[in-house]
């Protein structure tokens, strides 16, 4: 956007540092000519200015409040290399389909560059304290949403990254060429340890690779954690012997303190579990600590994104989930729930594709239709396995494989445990549907159009699959997503 004449940087230091209140843009937080450095950390915010606030001043205020500024001029700036430490808003674009003539008030995309020395190496907590700190409560903006970030290689290399990663996870499990299958034990609350382990055994023996604790299963009166761990590992080992396959159960180690989490993780390791899990609500520092523990102890680390929708779902305020994906890859988790497209939880197909790209790619180019505003070179950080969970069933297998690819954990909780012939049959139905679909895809068949037929053919010899298709074949969750792309691809004449 063009500069308003009164929003340019004041070049004369004496005038710039005169005590008082001046616009952030004039303090130097707006630099339309700024040349982004290779080592800069970039952020892109969706800004809804308060009525009467110039969008450029709003963007400059966001840059200021997320870096060095306070509300008034301070002379102590002059004791520092403040030109370096000041974040710079360098580009402001109106958001398509907002503002006059639309039903949405005017929003702007503000691009801001931060010098790498503003941040502590290897600390998501430090990075986020600036980027999503005080600035989100700042009065001059009515709403603010962090849409995307670019993390330079220099800063990425200060993070461990995923403890295990997709490649090594598959090698350890000896499972290749197909999505992994999981299920969350249901009911999520109330089962005793002994009954809980029954669900785990049935599902694993029937054909799943993993069963999962739910996010809110920790250590409650109906089932204390040690009891759950012991029964689950009995189930895992018994299922391994019954199938000759490596099996796992994500033991949730989430607890009130780090000390308790470490204690639970150590017990899981002692029992021979290949995987543990944590919840996003434990916080960024705790996640990084558990990722270091997992790397040190050869453990796969599953992260359940409990809590993210409180700030990622609404389009005008909060942050986009793709940024959480970036931070969690840096923080070092191996699994992250990232949407199903076809299931019961929020997830526009184009947006979900962007999340998966962020978690799995070595290099992700700019893709506005998928919400990727910056390219991202992942600098050889391990890849995160996305997890698709919530309201999916065997009848959608062709769509799941088509949308999500093969490096994903497909979790069918209700779609396994709710099977009319029992849990083992539910698991078998899912595994057969999956393998039949991968086989057909590799043979060159168009699974998107032939998928239902491929499933019906497999159901001819697999009764559990037939029963699954009869029960859920037509179930879909067709609601409009709230978090959708601002840009649609346009046909280009060749």
């Amino acid at each position: 956007m063009a500069d308003s004449p009164n929003l340019t940087k004041i070049p004369d230091a004496k005038r710039r540092y005169k005590p008082g209140v001046i616009p952030y843009a004039t303090m130097g937080y707006w630099e339309p000519d700024y040349q982004v450095k290779d080592t800069d950390i970039l952020a892109m915010f969706r800004v809804t200015p308060q009525p009467g606030v110039d969008p450029i001043e709003a963007a400059a205020a966001v840059a200021g409040e997320s870096s060095t500024a306070t509300w008034t001029v301070v002379w102590t700036d002059r004791l520092t290399a403040c030109e370096i430490y000041r974040a710079k808003a360098y580009r402001v674009d109106p958001v398509p389909n907002t503002g006059p003539g639309t039903t949405t008030e005017a929003q702007y995309f503000a691009y801001i560059a931060y010098d790498i020395d503003l941040f502590e190496p290897g600390s998501i907590a430090n990075l986020t304290a600036s980027i999503i700190g005080n600035v989100f409560g700042f009065k001059a903006v009515k709403a603010l949403r962090l849409e995307d970030m670019h993390i330079p290689i220099a800063y990425l290399k200060t993070f461990q990254g995923p403890a295990t990663g997709i490649v090594v996870e598959r090698e350890r499990l000896d499972k290749f060429g197909r999505p992994l299958l999981g299920a969350t034990t249901k009911p999520k609350l109330g089962l005793s340890g002994r009954n809980y382990g029954r669900v785990v055994y049935e599902a694993l023996k029937g054909g799943l690779d993993f069963v999962k604790d739910d996010e809110n299963i920790n250590s409650q009166p109906f089932m204390h954690w040690r009891d759950r761990y012991l029964y689950c590992m009995e189930a895992v080992n018994k299922a391994q012997a019954a199938t000759g396959e490596v099996k796992g159960h994500y033991l949730n180690v989430t607890a009130g303190t780090m000390e308790e989490m470490y204690e639970r993780a150590e017990f899981a390791k002692q029992l021979g579990s290949v995987i543990i899990m944590i919840d996003l609500v434990i916080g960024y520092t705790a996640i990084q600590s558990m990722a270091k523990w997992a790397r040190k102890n050869d453990m796969i680390l599953h992260l359940h994104r409990a809590g993210n929708s409180t700030y990622s779902r609404q389009k005008s305020h909060g942050m986009n989930f793709r940024v959480i994906c970036k931070w969690m890859r840096m923080a070092g988790v191996d699994h992250l729930h990232a949407g199903t497209v076809v299931g019961k939880l929020e997830g526009d197909p184009l947006m979900v594709k962007g999340f998966y790209e962020t978690l799995r790619s070595s290099y992700a180019p700019v893709s506005l239709e998928n919400g990727l505003f910056f390219k991202q070179d992942w600098a050889s950080l391990n890849k995160v396995m996305p997890v698709a969970s919530g309201g999916i069933h065997a009848g959608q297998m062709h769509q799941l494989l088509d949308y999500l690819g093969e490096d994903v954990v497909l979790q069918f909780g209700g779609g396994t445990i709710g099977h009319p012939m029992g849990i083992q049959a539910g698991a078998t139905a899912n595994r057969v549907a999956l393998e039949a679909m991968v086989l057909a895809r590799n043979e060159g068949r168009d699974i998107r159009s032939e998928g239902p037929e491929i499933l019906r053919d497999a159901a001819k010899w697999c009764q559990p699959l037939r029963a699954a298709l009869d029960t859920w074949g037509d179930i879909t969750f067709d609601y409009t997503s709230t978090d959708t792309a601002d840009f649609t691809p346009t046909a280009v004449a060749v």
Binding site: D174, M233, N237, A241, G244, L271, E435, N442, E443
Partner: protein, 152 residues
Amino acid sequence: MRVTQGTFSFLPDLTDPQIAAQVEYCLRQEWAVSVEFTDDIHPRNTYWEMWGLPMFDLRDAAGVMQEIRACRAANPHLYVRVSAFDSTRGWETVRLSFLVQRPAVEPGFRLERVEAAGRTIRYAVRAYSLDQPAGRRYRTSAETIAAPSEGR
């Protein structure tokens, strides 16, 4: 029991044309296909015997099928798998791996439990077939015992 290692173990055993189609898929991805066999089907047995080197320069599924048949003929009682290796940066690992032969009878595994401190149990998964010495596994007593095969 039926060992369910490999990508397609829940489907009926693949026919040779089905195997050839999967091999063609691997070759289209420019993956190197290899054939391996074992008489030790423990889930943690990573290193199966190699039936020669991965076929890096072979771009024809018929050639791979020939090797699969030769491996089966030399090891008619054992497990044989096809694996496809991707040398692309960031992967450098197996991308597809599936069984192309399994013994007629799979005796399965015994789960051994040793009770330890607290309520902890130490588990060990042991294949019944490993109770037989190498060379005699998965063979019926009536069959002549030949020397264990050494690959090519």
